[in-house]
Structures are given as C-alpha cells and as structure tokens.
Symmetry: C2
Subunit: 393 residues, 2 copies
C-alpha cells in the first residue's frame, strides 16, 4: 500500500529535531538545542486574571465558533502596534490570526506554490519554514546569509529564475542570530522590486533586541510585495499558538479561503485572553525584562566561547533573539561533534537540518534563552572538551 500516500509526503524524512528532543528529555543533559522562550518570564498570574475577566465579560462569545479572520479587536491592537513600534501602516482587515506564524507559512505556501516553483530561502534557514514549504514541493534557491544579511550576488542570480517568493528572518535570524543591515535590505528591495516575487518577512524575535538600533522593515522599502509574519509566542507565551500574517488584499482573500479549509478559525478563547491581557498590562515593560535576561545570557555565552573554545572556532554576535551560530574549522563535522557532546551531556543542533540541500556542515546552533550563566559556563565547558577530543583525533 505504498501508493496510499501523496507524493508530497513520501520523501519527507523524520525530523532530526524530534530525535534531538528525545535526547534532551534526559534531565542531566544541558540543552542548547531547544528553541523555547524562557518559561520563567511567562506572565502566569496576569494571564490568569485576564482569563477570569474574559469568562466574566465575554460570556459565551469566547467559547462559540467565530470568524476565520480572527478577533477584530486583536487585529486592531496588532495594527496599532505596527504603527507605534515600526511606523508601519496596516489595515486590521489585512491581518489574519493564525496558529502561530508557522501556520501562516503553510497557508501562504498553499495559496502560492505549485510543484517546482522557485522559492528563495536563506542558507542556513529556519527549519520550520523548510518543513512547511517542502510539502508543496518548491524548487529551492538557497541564498547564503552572513553578518550583514543576504549574499547579494547569489540573490541577483537567483531572481533571474523568477521565484514566486522569498523567505527571510531579517532580525536575529534563526538559526544564525544575524540581522540584515539597512544597506543590505535596501539592495534586496531594489533587486526584487517589480519582479513578482513575494517577500516574506518573518519576525518572531524583532522585539527581543538587546543592543543596537531597530532597522527598517522591508515593508517600508517594498510594501506591496511584502508579507509580514508575527507571533505572540516569544513575547507573551507560545502555548496559546497565536500568530498572524499581514498580506496585501489580493493575497489576503486567498489566505482566508485556505484558513477556512484548514481549520475554520484559530482558537477563539485564547484570542480573547491575550487581547484582555494586552489591554490591561504593560507589555513593553514585560518585553524589557525578557530582553534584559536574554541579552546577558547571550553575552555570557559569547564570553565563555571566547575563553574556552579554540581560536579557530568562530561565532556570530547577535544583537537580539534567542540563538547564536558557531562554526568549527571546515574539516570538522558538527554532526560528529554532536555525538561527542551528548556523551558529555550537552546538546545543540548541528547545521545540517537548516539546509535545503544535502550538506556536511561544520556549524551548529546554540540557544541561550533558557539557560542561566552558571549552566552556560558548565555547558560551554563540556562542549569545549568535546571539541578538543575531536581535534585530537
């Protein structure tokens, strides 16, 4: 019964990330592998209060079926925040509430990608995007990212293939932690302007900046081709599964059809709760607490790496977000290091799954959001030992 399955699912391998998760179930393991926000900062009591107000005030509305677009007041809140935080004007009617921004990716791919359509993707790129898009079988055009953003020459060549879309995480990218500089964004916008290529700007970490100045969104540079993705997962809680997509009207109309077919609408109850929470709490203050912690944890990790890793192991210097990216000398394999590291009870994600093509990667991702300085020191120490064992082989 092999012909039971659709072609699109036949060649999808079991996720290596899921295998890593199993490894990190071991409580004695120090994990830099996860991608979780730090649960210490979940505003539990404030959410509980908001929930009780919702039960009292929104009676049955929060428990009934609702519209596919999402709660209008929540979409208004998001629109206002784009204006106040980034000076971006969007109409609430262009905002669709999704089950995290992951679902937005699935819906966008569903309404735009035919099998074999060219799609530009960052290399290394966000694993969840690769998973979502791959099920629609695009032809990937990977474009490398470096400390300043995308590789412009590769992009210029890539655009000649007439890509349908281009997926980017310009702020504190997952997995690398790098951000696109203003100059880089400007050049990207010039290249794709008028090309018919949609630019997806996924921005789950944008609010988590712990140094430097905010850089203009692609929306300012090439608004009519830009789709914005956002999420409450990193700044409030991920368990509610609330994200959104902002799309030009002609695309929004198709996304609504796909959303309705996918699950009718996003959980109505948590939309009411988060709206009530946002209206009654100082969200910026809350974000500053998270940013303060992540910033000092990131610095602690960089300090330990500089002190303990050999000089020929490099790492990025993120200005925000949750990840940094370390690179071993080219002759070393991050996958081999992974095995040595797990023996020493420390885990990370090797570079391979962040590529859309088969590669042997000497780089790996380190998460710093869920570990305090003491754990960072111990974990980077164990990793340093694993690296030393590998180089002596």
């Amino acid at each position: 019964m092999n012909d039971l399955f659709a072609d699109r699912i036949q060649d999808v391998p079991r996720s290596f990330i899921r295998e890593i998760l199993k490894v990190t179930m071991d409580r004695s393991m120090i994990s830099f592998a996860g991608g979780l926000p730090n649960r210490e900062f979940f505003p539990i009591r404030e959410l509980q209060e908001a929930t009780n107000r919702v039960f009292d005030e929104n009676g049955t509305d929060c428990l009934q079926y609702s519209n596919s677009e999402g709660l209008f007041e929540l979409r208004e809140f998001i629109a206002k925040r784009y204006k106040s935080e980034q000076n971006i004007e969007v109409d609430p009617e262009q905002i669709l509430i999704t089950n995290g921004s992951q679902q937005a990716l699935d819906l966008i791919a569903k309404v735009t990608i035919n099998e074999g359509d060219p799609v530009i993707i960052e290399e290394p790129g966000y694993l969840g995007a690769i998973q979502a898009l791959s099920l629609y079988r695009p032809r990937y055009i990977p474009v490398g990212v470096h400390d300043e953003g995308m590789d412009i020459e590769t992009l210029r060549t890539g655009v000649t293939s007439k890509p349908k879309m281009m997926y980017t995480v310009p702020n504190f990218q997952n997995p690398s932690g790098i951000s696109y500089a203003h100059e880089n964004r400007t050049r990207i916008a010039e290249i794709i302007s008028g090309s018919g290529c949609l630019l997806i700007e996924d921005d789950p970490y944008g609010a988590l900046r712990f140094k430097g100045e905010q850089i203009d969104s692609f929306y300012h540079l090439i608004g009519d081709q830009t789709i914005l993705l956002g999420s409450f997962s990193k700044v409030v809680v991920p368990g509610f599964r609330l994200g959104w997509v902002v799309a030009p009207k002609r695309i929004f109309e198709k996304l609504i059809i796909a959303k309705q077919a996918a699950d009718l609408h996003t959980c109505n109850f948590t939309q009411y709760v988060i709206l009530n929470f946002l209206k009654n709490n100082a969200i910026d203050q809350h974000i500053q607490t998270i940013v303060g912690a992540y910033g000092s944890q990131c610095q602690a990790m960089i300090d330990c790496i500089e002190k303990m890793f050999p000089d020929d192991v490099t790492c990025t210097r993120p200005a925000g977000g949750m990840f940094l990216w370390a690179t071993l000398p080219e002759y070393m394999s991050a996958m081999e290091l992974f095995d040595l590291a797990v023996e020493r009870k420390v885990a990370f994600v090797p570079g391979e799954p962040f590529y859309t093509r088969q590669v042997r990667s000497s780089a790996f991702r380190l998460n710093f959001s869920c570990v305090d300085k003491k754990v960072i020191e111990e974990g980077i120490g164990r990793l340093a030992e694993a690296i030393s064992v590998m180089s002596s082989r």
Copy 2:
C-alpha cells in the same frame, strides 16, 4: 500577477456560506442556516473553574510549546471513552489532537491525495470536507445518501475507480440528518474491504442521539482501513478548536509530519483546560441536557413542517445531531426559495454547496440546535409562506 497563485486555489469560489452569514447578522432574521451548537449549554462556570485549576496546578507547562501529538493524558481520556462508549480499542499513541476535526481533514488530504486521485464523497456532503479536500484537487466520486445510508450500487461502481479515500458522516449526517443503518454499513465495509480505500468516519454528532440505538462504527467492521475523526465542539465548546483523528500507525506517522509543518501543535492551554474539565465534571449528564433540548427542538420543527408545509415538501427524520433536510417538489429551486425566505426574514442553506458538481437543488438544510420552539414555529411559518408564494408563481 495572476500567476502569483497556485493552481489549487485559483478555481475555489467565495464560499456561499460566508454570504449567508452576512444575511444572518440581521438580528430580526430567524436563522435555520447556522451550524452552531447552542450556546445556552456551554458549561462556562465549570470551564472557568477548570481553567483556574490549570493555572494553579500546571504552572508553566500549559503555556509552553508542546509536542505535535497533543497532551498524552487527553489522548488517553479519548481512548478510554472510545472503549466505554463504543467498545472500540484504540491506542492513545494513534490519536492526534487537531484544531477541530476540520484540521484532521486537511492533514489527511495533505498526506494522501495527489491531484486527480479519486475520492468518494457523500452526496449531499459536508461542506467543510468539500472545502478541505478540494484544495488537493481530487477527482470526486459522489455517492448519494438516502434514509438508510449510502447508495450501494453507486458505491460499488465507484470503487472500481480505485479511490484513495471515502469520506462519511454515518451518524446524523451533515447536511441531511440521516444515519447509516447497520446493514448499510456492513455492505459498505464488504465492498471497500481490501480495496486500498481509506474510510474516514467523521463523527462530530454521534453523542447527540435523541432516539434509537447506537449503531456500530465502521471501526468494528473494517478497522484497519478506518480513520476516526472526533471533536469536542458539539459536546463541550467549539471555541477551543479541539478535535482529533485516530489513524492506523503507518498513517499516523505521516500525519504527525504534516501537523508539525502545519502549525507545530494544537493550542496547549485549551488542551489542559478541557482535560481538567472532563476529569472533574459529569460529561454524560451534560450531554444528556443537550440531547434533551435538541431532540425536542427537532421534533418541534418536524411537527411544524408537517402542519405548515404543503404535502409535497418532504423532510428527513433525524435520530440525533443538529440538522434536517427538506426537499421541495423537483420543479422548485431552493436557491429561489432562499431569496423569498430572506425577504420574509428567515434563512436556511440551499442544497447547492453540499454538492461537488454543479447541480440545481430543490433541497435545503435546516438547523434546529439554536432555536427554541416559539422561534421554530414562527420561522417555519414564514418559510411556509415563502413556499406558497413560490408555488403560486
């Protein structure tokens, strides 16, 4: 920029149901058009208590990212209920929690359907299933349903096309309200057994039986080819968006990949809340309250129809669920009746959208779950008037 969109979305029309929803926003309109459970029976206080317990007891777990399969204890609860209610043995590891059973349909289609694959669908059939499946561009093989179930001869012919799947709502079908008799199920199982056709048994209304005896699920007859879909929407609340799919292991493995790509996992928080609610409340008693009300509303509607409609208008006699199906004499069009009815401030859903092919339907769906006897009498009266105007033309 017409080639912006994927082929799969190009030919999907705007949903007629969404247009109807606009009509029913008018407060003076009596609506038999909806498909909503009655909000009077939402266990609001009990859910509020459960939510407060969850915040107190499950601390941060309910707010963090979680696994794609869903909360294990909730899946265990569902498995136990299959055993106690239907004597069905399923392993909790075969159960995937989804955003309502609508998402289960999308995921199943995603992992099984290639463009052009034959799919058997009930005629008339559930609109949400038609929407979800259509985006994967199957070739539909419609099989008519009547008071006893599927038309066996059409099915027998249909199966010769080697369908990938067959979608059924054997209990209190949406839109018709009919149920498949035991004899009909047995013959269906004989026909598709060993054919490689998956049988989807969607059962959102099964617990809402107000007369007659429970009939064995297809799972008892042809378990290895059956996929079960279930939902908390009709027996607890729909706003939580919680449903599930029970699938054979080989299919489950693919569904998990698709689920992860679609939205990582279903809202974790509402899973905790509903589990806590179910563990601390007598769900059967709650269901009996709903069943009592729906049963008498259904009877009231049938009584009014018999009294007020002309003799050549027939209707089904549901033993449960939320809908019944009325049929005008063949020369009359339900779509024309719709316009006359809306002028008289009463709405229903004409038959057309429940078909996968272009038809002119003389049948229409009436919902009885959200209207009390007084409203039913008034609304059926207005409808009778509209019918009378139409027949005099």
